[in-house]
């Protein structure tokens, strides 16, 4: 009998531990946030005690800590930031790689209506590539700023107009705001410029690259001396892709329209690659070959990069002397990147969300501070114009040149392309499909067919692909 009791106990213990272990993995994270949120519940008054912020890295947190005056302290692991009024910000960070961030965010937003107050998403971030997926009026997951009590026309008047357009839905209602603005420039090697053009003066080089036709003639000059103009066809894509006249997919339709500008990119890229203006060994960006093409042993003359690209991509990959690079105007104005802050529909902390958005995206002093401390080109027209003439913004990496002098006018002239929620896949897959064509692995029609297959796989609701002539 005793034996029986003992073995029964053991059996239940084992089964219980097994079951709880299995069950725990599913709900563990939700429980954890709920419990820690509980003890601060009384502090926030009518507002919830926890502000949940979804992001893909600590970029937003560092900027918030730097300029949001209500911040008291952040836990060592960076997951909880305490505010002075007792409310806690919980950072829910998921990496951007392989779409993990969007998957987790989508799950959370779909459960938003039924989630407990302290588990609701309050703020989430998005990138330009997929911002429209969340600002879409039909999805209605990002609150219109006016519902928060922010009047974009007065409160955000100093922002660059294209960033406001980007964060708006199809009816022109602004549903997000950004501190960051990412105008791109042409960044060139001064030693190569001296060798080929006899000067490294940004104005003179700017004249050589002012539009695509001039740049093509310049590319031939560079080629004659054994240099490549750009590393790969992916480098120029954003310039074309940003100037499309119609969205990839018009709202309510299921047809992908490939814009004439994209067709131009295909035509020009093939021509440039065959002519030897690109480095044939570099296939796309963000790979080892691309990084190496930024080193001193490379023959690549220039890159098309925004502010963050110069500081976080070019600078770490450059192994020569500082001051070897210069910036000048690109052949065509473009924007690359940018993180948008959205208030999630159904947030229980609208006041805090409003404060945070205003502090981070509408306060000129804060934005200038971010520019100084974190090298972001920030979203204030007047502030950036001041920076353009302020010698203290000069960069050693660029040989003492003040890049803001070139960034500011580009930012003011950017015409943002019309967005759709299919942009990310279209942009990614068209580059991929035509990569084979540029390298001569497949013919033109086969590359088109491959894009059609891939895009229909990614977006099952797409029924047709129209190619511009």
């Amino acid at each position: 009998m005793k034996k029986r009791v003992v073995s029964l106990l053991m059996a239940t213990a084992i089964s219980a531990s097994l079951l709880t272990a299995c069950g725990g993995s599913g709900s563990g994270t939700a429980n954890a946030t709920g419990e820690t949120g509980g003890d601060a519940a009384a502090a926030g008054g009518t507002e919830g005690a926890v502000v949940n912020i979804y992001s893909w890295n600590d970029e937003f947190r560092t900027r918030l800590e730097a300029v949001y005056p209500e911040v008291e302290s952040t836990s060592d692991d960076g997951t909880v930031t305490k505010l002075k009024d007792g409310v806690e910000i919980h950072w829910i960070i998921n990496p951007n790689q392989d779409g993990v961030y969007q998957q987790k965010l989508d799950e959370a937003l779909l459960n938003q209506a039924t989630a407990a107050d302290d588990d609701k998403v309050d703020i989430f971030l998005s990138e330009t590539d997929y911002v429209f997926k969340y600002t879409d009026a039909d999805a209605d997951v990002a609150m219109p700023l006016t519902d928060l009590g922010i009047d974009p026309d007065t409160d955000l008047a100093d922002q660059y107009p294209f960033t406001r357009t980007t964060a708006s839905d199809q009816n022109g209602v602004q549903r997000g705001s950004t501190w960051q603005c990412c105008p791109g420039l042409l960044v060139y090697r001064r030693d190569i410029a001296k060798d080929v053009f006899g000067t490294d003066d940004p104005a003179a080089v700017g004249e050589k690259v002012k539009d695509w036709d001039t740049l093509k003639a310049t590319a031939a000059e560079l080629k004659a001396k054994g240099y490549y103009t750009f590393a790969s066809y992916a480098d120029t894509f954003r310039l074309y892709g940003n100037s499309i006249s119609e969205p990839w997919v018009t709202a309510g339709e299921t047809t992908v329209k490939v814009d004439p500008q994209i067709m131009n990119w295909i035509k020009d890229s093939k021509e440039w690659l065959d002519a030897g203006y690109f480095d044939k060994t570099v296939k796309g960006q963000w790979n080892d070959d691309w990084n190496k093409s930024m080193s001193s042993s490379s023959k690549v003359f220039a890159f098309l990069l925004p502010a963050w690209g110069i500081d976080f991509t070019l600078n770490p990959n450059w192994d020569g002397e500082t001051g070897a690079w210069g910036v000048t105007n690109p052949p065509q104005e473009y924007n690359w990147g940018g993180s948008y802050i959205h208030a999630a529909t159904g947030t229980d902390n609208p006041q805090h969300v409003k404060d945070i958005i205003l502090a981070l995206t509408a306060n000129k002093d804060n934005l200038i501070k971010i520019s100084r401390d974190y090298l972001d080109f920030t979203n204030t027209v007047s502030g950036m114009q001041e920076a353009a003439t302020d010698a203290s913004f000069a960069s050693d990496f660029l040989g003492g040149q003040n890049a803001y002098e070139y960034f500011a006018p580009v930012a003011e002239n950017i015409q943002i392309a019309p967005l759709s929620s299919y942009d990310q896949g279209c942009v990614e897959l068209i580059q991929n499909a035509f990569s084979d064509y540029f390298q001569g692995n497949v013919d033109y029609d086969r590359a088109k067919a491959n894009f059609e297959t891939a895009i229909k796989e990614r977006y099952p609701d797409i029924t047709e692909i129209q190619w511009a002539e």
């Binding site: 779909l110 997926k133 692995n441 497949v442 796989e457 609701d461």
Partner: protein, 316 residues
């Protein structure tokens, strides 16, 4: 008598209670999702942006749609990639297993070599693929070496050609699995009675003859097992080509395997289509499993007979 019987029964009860957790876990975490996968394969169910579409019952449309797609071509890719990896794997493994078990050769450090050849299997496949991606990139170390010893003037674009990419995937699969196969075949060869080898040698049998007439026929069941498990593993080939080609099966989708195709449907949370593809894969794997069962149980009479005897004995 009665008491004893009850005692016996209660032990069986404890047995069931002890295996209950496994079956509960299996039921909740494996069987229900499995049934759901099959169920959703008859539905239109995916996500467009953040909006959920479906589930709407559409019958066999997903299955028909898949047959119209390039699924067959991807199945062909999978088969080719598997063959490229499997042929060198089985040849080298047989050779090594034969050498390592040959008492006459007296190879030193057998244990050491066994560990070494098994090591590549311990590396995560994705890490292995990333390593190869870096090694064989156009400006990578392999090209630097080839150029510095003068074998080529311009860097070779290994991953730009179908042949190059497929060979690399085959090479990686070979490196990862030949150790495993070698050890399995060694066990099989060591299971053969040494008397037979001795007898063969006394009769003047050479090593080639011995290998083809004694070793190979006697390890046939294990060979068949290796073959079939390898095919099933090959059907599920995913991580190596996925990482090496960035999920696109470049160039021209010639390295796209069936599971990569499945994965690209899951990017849009297309549960319906992915479910239908899974059912196809399930059927193929099921047929292969049937063969492996036949080969290991039915085909070998000597193994099947004693078991029948044992069963009969128990009854009596």
């Amino acid at each position: 008598m009665n008491k004893k019987k009850q005692h016996h029964l209660s032990y069986a009860k404890w047995g069931y209670i002890f295996i209950l957790p496994f079956f509960l876990a299996f039921f909740i975490f494996s069987l229900i999702p499995l049934v759901d996968t099959v169920r959703y394969s008859f539905y239109e169910y995916y996500r467009s942006g953040i909006k959920e579409i479906g589930p709407t019952f559409i019958g066999l449309e997903n299955y028909a749609e898949l047959l119209k797609s390039d699924m067959v071509a991807y199945a062909g890719n999978t088969l080719i990639l598997w063959v490229i990896g499997f042929i060198p794997q089985i040849v080298i493994a047989l050779l090594l297993a034969n050498w390592f078990t040959d008492v006459r050769l007296k190879i030193r450090g057998k244990q050491f070599f066994k560990i070494i050849i098994y090591l590549p299997n311990l590396i995560m496949a994705s890490a292995f693929a990333m390593l190869f991606f870096a090694l064989f990139s156009t400006n990578g170390p392999i090209n630097s070496i080839l150029m510095s010893i003068g074998l080529t003037d311009t860097p070779i674009d290994f991953m730009g050609t179908t042949f190059g990419t497929r060979s690399l995937i085959g090479l990686m699969n070979f490196l990862m699995w030949f150790g495993n196969t070698t050890i399995m075949l060694m066990a099989a060869i060591m299971g053969i009675s040494p008397d037979i080898f001795e007898a063969a040698e006394l009769d003047g049998c050479g090593s080639f003859r011995r290998f083809f007439s004694i070793t190979l026929p006697l390890i046939r069941p294990i060979l068949a097992y290796t073959l079939i498990t390898s095919i099933i593993g090959g059907l599920q080939m995913f991580d190596v080509p996925q990482i090496l080609t960035n999920g696109q099966g470049n160039p021209d989708r010639t390295s796209m395997t069936l599971i990569m195709f499945l994965n690209s449907h899951l990017k849009s949370r297309n549960y319906g289509m992915a479910g239908a593809l899974s059912v196809y894969l399930f059927i193929v794997s099921g047929i292969l499993c049937f063969f492996v069962y036949r080969m290991t149980n039915g085909g070998d009479d000597s193994a099947a007979k004693p078991r029948k005897h044992a069963k009969g004995g128990k009854k009596a």
